[in-house]
């Protein structure tokens, strides 16, 4: 595995008097597919926002890149409803980041969309699967080094979900990206993650390759209840 791209040291985040993250430390290596796992309220989204500087925090966020890191980010709950009320086309949404239509065409094709079918539509008028693919294309178009995805398959059916994650894996491998992803889905963790970071009640419960560290006991510690995971081998 390659050298570290990001180091988080003694991260603390408070909302008012409430501690949401306490003394969190970990490293992310270049090319890693790190999944952040944990129950609701564990601080997963807060962790992302603190790393990205979107909320105040204490501790150190150290980017180990030569220049300012090129970051792609898809926040949780970026819903289509927001776009439905905006007079904006997919083409114009992409123009926020990239003016060349050729590049936009290419990235849309790479995520499995037909550019001619979507470019002149409002993003709110796409199907949920098309919308998620479009968002992934949007996050990739500026060729980021590291991507933060917060539950990218929310609201997608099972088939669509599988497609979204396959797509992410394809780009991860092809472009040597570093991906940090939040999900509740253990199947996804075992299938794609090189490392998993488990959060529970502000603390790190585990960090490492999922097959080694996601024991039933570890999962119980994370979720506060017994969880058994049966891997389906087809």
């Amino acid at each position: 595995m390659e050298e570290p791209i990001l180091q988080v040291k003694d991260l603390n985040v408070k909302f008012g008097e409430e501690e949401v993250i306490r003394n969190l430390s970990f490293k992310v290596r270049r090319g890693e597919f790190l999944i952040v796992l944990g129950p609701n309220g564990a601080g997963k989204t807060t962790l992302f926002k603190a790393i990205l500087g979107l909320i105040p925090s204490n501790g150190q966020i150290i980017w180990l890149t030569k220049e300012n890191p090129k970051i792609g980010y898809l926040p949780e709950r970026l819903s289509q409803d927001k776009f439905k009320n905006l007079p904006i086309l997919v083409r114009e949404f992409f123009h926020f980041k990239e003016k060349l239509d050729e590049k936009i065409f290419n990235i849309l094709q790479e995520v499995g969309l037909v550019p001619q079918e979507v470019l002149n539509k409002n993003p709110g008028a796409l199907s949920s699967g098309q919308f998620q693919r479009m968002l992934i294309a949007w996050s990739l178009i500026s060729e980021p080094e590291i991507l933060f995805f917060d539950e990218p398959a929310t609201g997608i059916d099972i088939g669509g979900e599988e497609t979204i994650y396959s797509l992410l894996e394809k780009f991860w491998k092809r472009k040597n990206l570093t991906i940090l992803l939040i999900t509740h889905d253990l199947d996804i963790v075992y299938k794609y993650a090189t490392n998993v970071l488990c959060l529970s009640k502000k603390e790190v419960c585990c960090f490492g390759p999922p097959k080694e560290i996601l024991t039933p006991k570890a999962l119980e510690k994370v979720y506060g209840t017994r969880i058994k995971f049966y891997e389906h081998k087809h």
Binding site: L54, P75, L78, K82, L86, P87, I88, L89, E92, F96
Partner: protein, 258 residues
Amino acid sequence: MGQFLLSLISAIFIGGVAGYLGSVMITKRMGLVGGPLGHLALPGVALALVFHFNVFYGALLTVILGGILIWLLEIKTKAPMEALTGLVFAAGVALGFLILPFTEEHQLEEALIGDITKISFADTVLTVILCVLIFIIIKHIYSKLIMTEISEDLARIEKINTKKYNFIYLCCIALLVALTVKLVGGLLPVALFVIPALTSRNFSKGSFQYSFGALTLGAISSVLGIFLSKSYNLPAGLLIILISTLFFLISIIFKRGQ
């Protein structure tokens, strides 16, 4: 003829740019901000009439002060901008109506509904320059303002300084409201911003069509309003608003489905 041309030119630029800026305001759900800000011009207009200086500068002073106050309150309290605008406007209107009784009777109508027929050459030049400046600024930051509306987090990741652009945007609104006072007085600026944008929204696809549609409709309403005003000797500002409303009602027929 000369005075008519000055009125026409001023009205076209004010109406067009107000429509363009209104397209952003509607998108950011700030359509009603134009109303209270226009009312904030009242104390400034009243002061200008009492002390016999240009109403534009009087309006600009109080609108700018009001805009800055709303911006500072939003940063401090994180309360919705529309609520804060309501707070500041209420205070401004109260102040304005305290000063208005000291104006002469014929000036009262000018303060409330405007009178573009008296605009001077110098004021027309100033109006055109400021309108062009506001248009260029808003065009430059348009996509950043829309991005902020989609997701403030995404905008910040894209290195968009949301506070800075919101401030610039508010200043542009304040400046344009001060200009609209000549055309529609302190009571009705909201109409110049909102109605063309709402009309354009009904038939446009995408933000380019929407924003330039609003600009075009604003300008056309102004042209027709000025011509009708000259023909029937009625207040131009009121006619512009009614024509704009008529366009909106017609546009409902062409409203695009989702």
